[in-house]
Each structure stands twice: as structure tokens, then as C-alpha cells.
């Protein structure tokens, strides 16, 4: 500490210049008397300033003689304001204490740097660790279903109607883990088990296109999982859960699958250990296993997930974080039912010659991920260097439960690196970076231009975003990203994604925002190259173009200080072009024969407009309530009908009690039935054109004492039968009990 002050004091001796100005210098310390880098230090009256360096030191030149007000501010800390007289013979020391926010959440997704959620000129939702741990949330999809404007159909996430049911062929929402795209957007949907939810610090959901910062895949929005770091003290946590689905009440269904009459338990066990290694290193490891008999015939799954995070260094100095994971899963995939009269059994295509159902597909999946991230504070900001290694192996399982050769499955590999700088520049905040990614997917179903079964789609990108105050209480953000994709060897796709946003604070309680941006998604390798003339004909399409979107949003947020309540209203509009969907087509092959089959084509042009209202409040002694409503109006410009599988109304709400050692809560969500479904899917799958409103109410009660917490959850409390997606019944009422213990 003495050395630090001495170091900081070296330049503090003022040096008079010809204009009678001086140089002042000092140091910024936190509550532990540790130096705090990256702090904005501003001479308020002179409007000149500096940023503290990695050792907390700062220096400002050209300070006029006389009295001044010096303000040190840093996100998450109470600002420190000092009256100083220049020239001064004493070192300047700013001391910042952590700020306890009443309702302000810090987010990182909107600008790739920490910001208060209320300052972000975009719609962003945050699910914290408390929200997740209070519920039986084993995977990401279970969590984000509680977010206003978000719907999940199978493994497809739709934010404000960005996507319908897309046949597991590509996600229009980008998944990030600690800011890194874990998978390429061509993976079949969002990998919901990407990280154990018990080690998630928060989940941020950016609504609207995010391609100006994140590139392909962020057509409809971004979901960013922020992982928890290990604490200083060694701790071991055990979580055990058991549950069962209530038997279906209709004998017409259970007669055709008698197991649906039984209470069939599902089990979850997770062990997590965290500890520090010396003063500057720590880590955690989580091992979890899930055995789920499923609620449908041929819907069983078993999985083991091993995930670890290791950290070295200080949060305010150079720091290395490494996430590593291995997920092994054996799963029966129930694809579609055998009609409404036989909803619990997988269906078959009526003209297929095989006796076994084709509405199910069993496979063994192994995913491995390694995500190192190096964070280096500099004099003007922070440099992040990230890398990612990811591999996916899918092996089909035959009727006898044996693994088929890998040659009949899919192998995917992705590796990439990214460098990013975020800091002060020219009176504003700049975030800029570049990344390179290589990916490769091989499948027995692929046929590329040269007839290979290996699809490649390397990509490069560079982006910049600049934010600054343009007037009192008004800030502006502008961003641009250039993405270059090489589609095998014959074609390069170049895409520019701009973004512009303005935020204005109107008094202490109200903030308004306006934003516009673009999004896109490059066709996946599977969509482009799948070519199977076997049992179920699918034709490749080498001419697929990227899907694109242009969106705009107006929003206003009312959040009175210390009122513990907020209301947010957003109006939004998105134009969607070249949406990729499978279609039943008739093609001529090389010898002129006409053949029928499916093909992914750029089909839809449309728009989604709507409004969203979200409110939160703390009530009485110990209640918290939230309510969100989204109105969606979509239109397919070609058919003049609503876009397929988009509900018009989405509603989420919840109330939670937290008093002493008891917690309880109700969570509700509802969606109106979509006005339009896909006619091509429903022509082959029985009753796939059936749509229904979804109404789900979950309840929970918990009790905790010292290191033990016991909770009882009932999901789908009303036992309302609705659709998870087209031709797939959603789970019935589920009872579960969960025990957490930390020691």
C-alpha cells in the first residue's frame, strides 16, 4: 500500500506550464485498499479527465490553478467526489465503496461490457442465480420460458416472434457462454445443457437483432449465460432431486401406451466442489447425472455432464478464466406423435414400409467444450482475448440399443479466437474486436459441391461500437460489424450489420430509448448440404442465401429510485427476409427425372410488429411480483397470412414470497395458439395442424436452514395439455422434490 501511494505520488508534484496549468496525479482504491483500474476520473468543472491504470493510478495534465471538483466513478461503486486545490502538495486518493443497487442489474450482453440494465438502449431481460435456484431448472430452456416475449418450441428459441418451429435446423437466437458463441449457428437449435444451471450467475436475454456485435445467428436475439466464479472458501454442494409426471388422464391415450398410467420417477444428482488455490487462483467442478424416463413413449434420456471453471489472477488485474465441459447423453428423440388420438406414441409416415415408428430417433451424443478467456486491464480500458474449442459427436442407436458406427452419424468441430478492446476513446466508450472461426461438420447425409460428406464454413469478423454522451442526459451508440463466411470453396458471403441507438434519461425515474439494427444468419452446413436419396428424400440446396432482419424499437422505462418497482414498455418492428424453411418440392435430377422430396429454401418474407409491457414490484414485507405481456402481429408478405407458429399473445407472470426460512412462489405463462401452421409438415404428420393455447402454472414451496434447503415443485399445476411444438405434446403435471446441501 505504501509502495502504491509512493508510486502514485511520483507524478503528483505539480508542474507549472506556460499557461499556468498543472499536472495532478493520484490513485483510486477500493473498499479493501486495493487499487482499482478502469475508473473514470473527471475534473468536473474543467471537463477533463483520465482513467486509472492497472495499478489504480491516474494523472491529468493541463489543470488550471485554483479550486476544482474531482469525481471518480466506476460501475458498481458509489462515486467519490473530492474538492481539491491546484497546485496541491498532497497525493490525491479516491476511495470507492461498492454500490448496493436496489433494482439495478448489471448486464454485459448489450455492449460487450458491464452496464446498468436501465442504461442499455435495448430490451434486455436478466434471470439471476436466485431465480434459477428457486426453481427446478435443469437446463436453459426451462429458465428462459419465464422471460417475457420468449417462447420455446422444442429446441428452438423464439424472441418476439423471430422464429417459429424450424425443424431443428438452425437457431435464430445466438447462445453465448461468458460472451463466447459456444456453437456455430448451424447446430440444431440451442444446446440447452451447455452449462450446469447451478453454476450460472445470470442469464441475459437481449431482445432484437444482435448481429452488429455478435454476427450470424443473432437474428432474433442473444442469450448470454454468465458463469459463476468460485468463492474463496472451499465448499461442496450436493443437489438431489426426484420427481414424476402425473399419469395422463385419458384412457384413449394410455390404452395405446400403458406405461403412461404409471408414476415413473426421474432422478437428478449433482455434486459441485469449489475452492481457491493460493491467493489468486480458484476453481469449481460440477458433475451431474440425470435419468429421465420421459413422459412419452420413446422419450427416455440419460446424461452425465462434467463441467469445470478455473480462474487465475484478480478481477481487476490480468485474469485467466477457463471453462471446460463434457456432456454425454443417450437419448430417444420423440419427433412427432401418431396423431391426436395416439398422442403418446411416435408416429410413422403412412406410406413407409418399415414397421417401426419414424417419429422417433435414438442417438448417443458427446459434446466437449473448452473456453479460455484472458482479461487484461490497460490504461484506457480492458482487453479480452478469448478462444473456443468445441466438438460434437452424434451416433445413432439401432433397434437393439447398440451404437451404430460413427460413419452413420455426425461429427462437428469448431475452433476460433477473438480479441476485443473496450475502453475510453475520444470522450466516449469504444468496443472493438475481431474473430476468426473454423468449423467443420461431416455427416453421411451431406453432399457438397465436390460430392464430399464434409461441410466447412470458416468465418472472420471485425466489429466496432462507439458510445458517447451527445447532450446532457442523452447518449448515443453506433456499431458496425463485418462478417465474411467462406461457403466451401466456391462462394464467399460478406455481410455488414449496422446498429444505432439513442438513450435519454428524463429525470431520475424515466429513461427512453430508440434503436435500430440488423441481424442475419448464414445457412447452416446441414441446410445447405443435406442430400439423402434414401428412405426420406432430402435435396441439397447450394443456392441458399442468408436470412436477414432489420428491426427497430422504441422503449420507455419507469423506475423510481428506491421504489422497488419498474415498468418497461417497448414497441418493436422487425422485417424478416429470406427465412429458410424446408419445403416439399419437385426437382429434376441430372438425367432429367422428376423427383419429389424436401429441400431447404429461402421462402418467407415477412414482418413481426408488436408491443411488450413488463413490470416488477416488491410488495409488502416480502413479496415480489412480475408481469409481462407481449402482443405480436406477424405477416408473411407472400401469403398475407400470419407467419407460421407465431402466437399473437404471450403472457408471463409470477409472484414469490421470501420470508425467514420459507420461500414460495407461483409462475404462470400463457401463449395463444398460432393462427398459422406449416402445411408441408402437417401433410405428412398426422394432426400436425392442430394448435392450442398453452397455459402453464408452476408452483413451489421451499424451506431452508443453515446449509440445507428443501423444496417442493409442481410444474403444470393445472395439468393442462398443450403442445410443446407441432405434433408434440408438452409434459403433464410434474411433482418434484429437491434437496440442496452445502458444506
Amino acid at each position: 500500500m505504501v509502495l502504491l501511494l509512493a508510486a502514485a505520488s511520483l507524478p503528483w508534484v505539480p508542474n507549472a506550464s506556460a499557461q499556468e496549468s498543472y499536472r495532478i496525479a493520484g490513485v483510486v482504491l477500493d473498499e479493501n485498499q486495493e487499487p482499482l483500474p478502469g475508473v473514470n476520473v473527471l475534473l468536473v468543472d474543467a471537463r477533463i479527465g483520465a482513467v486509472s491504470d492497472a495499478y489504480g493510478r491516474f494523472a491529468i495534465d493541463g489543470v488550471p490553478e485554483g479550486s476544482h471538483v474531482l469525481r471518480c466513478s466506476f460501475l458498481g461503486y458509489e462515486p467519490d467526489t473530492l474538492d481539491i486545490v491546484v497546485p496541491t502538495e498532497r497525493p490525491i486518493v479516491c476511495r470507492l465503496m461498492p454500490h448496493i443497487y436496489d433494482a439495478g442489474e448489471v448486464v454485459v450482453t448489450a455492449s460487450r461490457r458491464p452496464q446498468l440494465a436501465s442504461d442499455v438502449p435495448a430490451s434486455i431481460a436478466v434471470l439471476g442465480a436466485d431465480f434459477i435456484s428457486a426453481r427446478r431448472i435443469e437446463s436453459l430452456d426451462t429458465a428462459i420460458r419465464h422471460v417475457s416475449g420468449v417462447s420455446v418450441q422444442g429446441n428452438q428459441v423464439s424472441i418476439r416472434g423471430s422464429s417459429g418451429f424450424a425443424y431443428n435446423t438452425g437457431s435464430r437466437v445466438l447462445l453465448l457462454v461468458d460472451g463466447m458463441p459456444l456453437l456455430s449457428p448451424d447446430t440444431d437449435g440451442v444446446p440447452f445443457e451447455a452449462i450446469p444451471m447451478s453454476r450460472v450467475k445470470q442469464v441475459e436475454i437481449l431482445k432484437g437483432p444482435g448481429s452488429a456485435l455478435y454476427g450470424s445467428g443473432a437474428l432474433g436475439g442473444v442469450v448470454n449465460i454468465i458463469s459463476e466464479s468460485a468463492g474463496d472458501k472451499p465448499a461442496t454442494s450436493i443437489r438431489a432431486a426426484v420427481g414424476f409426471n402425473e399419469p395422463f388422464r385419458y384412457p384413449e391415450w394410455t390404452r395405446k401406451w400403458t406405461s403412461a398410467r404409471d408414476f415413473r420417477p426421474d432422478y437428478t444428482m449433482e455434486i459441485t466442489h469449489e475452492r481457491s488455490f493460493g491467493a489468486n487462483a480458484s476453481g469449481w467442478m460440477s458433475i451431474s447425472g440425470i435419468v429421465d424416463p420421459g413422459y412419452l413413449n420413446q422419450d427416455r434420456s440419460r446424461s452425465i455432464n462434467i463441467f469445470a471453471k478455473a480462474s487465475a489472477g484478480s478481477a481487476r488485474r490480468t485474469r485467466l478464466d477457463v471453462l471446460a465441459g463434457l456432456l454425454i447423453r443417450r437419448r430417444e428423440n420423440f419427433l412427432f406423435w401418431n396423431g391426436l388420438s395416439d398422442a403418446l406414441n411416435p408416429g410413422s409416415i403412412a406410406i413407409s414400409r418399415v414397421d417401426e415408428p419414424t417419429g422417433a430417433s435414438d442417438n448417443h451424443t458427446m459434446t466437449m467444450s473448452l473456453l479460455p478467456q484472458l482479461r487484461m486491464p490497460t490504461k484506457r480500458g480492458v482487453v479480452n482475448v478469448r478462444a473456443r474449442f468445441y466438438s460434437l459427436l452424434i451416433r445413432p442407436i439401432d433397434d437393439d440399443g447398440r451404437l451404430k458406427p460413427l460413419a452413420q452419424g455426425t461429427v462437428g468441430f469448431r475452433t476460433g479466437a477473438e480479441a476485443q478492446f473496450s475502453g475510453e476513446l475520444a470522450d466516449g466508450q469504444v468496443t472493438t474486436g475481431a474473430n476468426v472461426d473454423l468449423n467443420l461438420t461431416t455427416s453421411s447425409f451431406f453432399r457438397t459441391e465436390s460430392g464430399e460428406s464434409v461441410g466447412r464454413q470458416p468465418e472472420m469478423a471485425a466489429y466496432v461500437q462507439y458510445e458517447r454522451d451527445i447532450a446532457q442526459m442523452i447518449s448515443a451508440v453506433g456499431g458496425l460489424r463485418l462478417d465474411v463466411f467462406q461457403v466451401f470453396s466456391i462462394e464467399t458471403i460478406v455481410h455488414l450489420s449496422p446498429k444505432l441507438a439513442i438513450a435519454r434519461r428524463v429525470g431520475p425515474a424515466i429513461s427512453a430509448r430508440a434503436s435500430a439494427g440488423a441481424g442475419f444468419r448464414v445457412p447452416s452446413v446441414a441446410e445447405r448440404y443435406t442430400d439423402d436419396q434414401g428412405y426420406f428424400p432430402v435435396f441439397r440446396n447450394l443456392d441458399l442465401r442468408p436470412e436477414t432482419s432489420i428491426s427497430a424499437e422504441l422503449g420507455v422505462r419507469y423506475e423510481p429510485p428506491k421504489a422497488m418497482a419498474s415498468v418497461d414498455l417497448a414497441l418493436f418492428y422487425s422485417r424478416l427476409d429470406d427465412l429458410i424453411e424446408p419445403r416439399f418440392v419437385q426437382l429434376e435430377d441430372e438425367v432429367g427425372s422428376r423427383r419429389l422430396g424436401f429441400q431447404f429454401v429461402n421462402l418467407s418474407r415477412g414482418r413481426v410488429a408488436g408491443l411488450e409491457v413488463e413490470s416488477r414490484a416488491a410488495l409488502l414485507c416480502c413479496f415480489r411480483a412480475r408481469l409481462g405481456y407481449t402482443l405480436l402481429s406477424s405477416m408473411d408478405f407472400d401469403t398475407r397470412r400470419p407467419l407460421a407458429y407465431r402466437p399473437q399473445h404471450l403472457l408471463v407472470g409470477g409472484i414469490a414470497l421470501d420470508r425467514n426460512s420459507v420461500t414460495a412462489g407461483l409462475d404462470a405463462r400463457a401463449a395463444s395458439k398460432p393462427a398459422t401452421v406449416d402445411s408441408d409438415f402437417s401433410r405428412f404428420v398426422p394432426d400436425a395442424d392442430i394448435a392450442v393455447n398453452s397455459i402453464v402454472l408452476d408452483g413451489r414451496v421451499g424451506w431452508s436452514r443453515k446449509n440445507l434447503r428443501v423444496s417442493l415443485q409442481v410444474e403444470n399445476l393445472l395439468n393442462y395439455y398443450y403442445l410443446e411444438r407441432a405434433a408434440l405434446l408438452a409434459p403433464p403435471r410434474h411433482f418434484g422434490i429437491q434437496v440442496n446441501s452445502t458444506f
Partner: protein
């Protein structure tokens, strides 16, 4: 939130999706008679009785499988055969007959012979069993309408 819970609860009282009543199904059964020389076996990859709830314009229109009732696979090379399709939802079937899959392509289907009784229209009521007869004359194979 309480009001929301009540509203959702009341709305959900009807319970959501429910199976169709088995009372609304019937059975179509019949006999097919084959006349003339069977075509090569590799041009009859599959053979079934199909009852359509619509009149198809062409092959791709024919493949609206959710509006078709299909029998089990029939045998190749016989002089006559029988079929039965149970659990068929009630309704009107204006176009029915024997169809074959011509090539390996799952979707390459074409008619071989059509139901001609009652102008080719089958009307199936709840709990009914309808008997039909189909003649396939390989010398006069029908085309799509």
C-alpha cells in the same frame, strides 16, 4: 398476479388437448381384383389401398398424408387380395383405390385402380364398416384426375 392465476385457472379448466372420441371412427375394408399382366416388380415398390379425403391433382398433391387413410402393404403378384383399414375417422372419401410406389423415391406414388361404386365416393359414419371392391386392370391404369 392473483387475478392472473384465477383467469388462467378458469381458462385451463377445459384441460387443453383431448383425444378424439373413438366413437367417431369406422372401418373401410374390401377386396381388390387384379386383371392382366403384373408390371415388373421393381416398378411396384409398395402397394396399398388408400382412401383420400380430397381429389388429387397430381403426385405431389396426392401426398397429403394427414388426409389419407392407408392400408397395410399388399402383396405383389396375386390375383386378388383383401384389405382392412380400422380406426378411420368418419367423413367423405371422394378418391380411393389401389396405389403403388413406382421408384425408390418414397414419394413416387401413382394409382393402379380406383373405387368405382357410388361414383367412387365412400361415406363413412361413426361405428360403420364400409365394404368396397376395387378392380385393377393393368392394361388400363388410371391417371390422376
Amino acid at each position: 398476479m392473483f387475478a392472473l392465476t384465477v383467469i388462467l385457472g378458469l381458462t385451463a379448466c377445459e384441460g387443453g388437448l383431448a383425444p378424439e372420441s373413438d366413437d367417431s371412427v369406422g372401418t373401410i375394408r374390401g377386396t381388390v381384383t387384379y386383371l392382366g399382366q403384373w408390371p415388373p416388380e421393381d416398378s411396384v415398390r409398395d402397394l396399398r389401398f388408400v382412401a383420400l379425403r380430397f381429389v388429387p391433382a397430381d403426385t405431389s398433391d396426392f401426398l397429403q398424408l394427414n388426409r389419407i387413410e392407408v392400408s397395410r402393404q399388399l402383396e405383389y403378384g396375386l390375383a386378388s387380395d383383401t384389405f382392412s383399414v380400422r380406426g378411420v375417422g368418419t367423413g367423405v372419401f371422394p378418391y380411393s383405390g389401389i396405389a403403388r410406389q413406382v421408384t425408390e423415391n418414397l414419394f413416387s406414388w401413382a394409382p393402379l385402380g380406383l373405387v368405382s361404386e357410388n361414383d367412387g365416393v365412400i361415406i363413412l359414419g361413426a361405428g360403420e364398416t364400409i365394404d368396397v371392391n376395387v378392380t385393377v386392370d393393368f392394361a388400363h391404369i388410371p391417371r390422376f384426375p
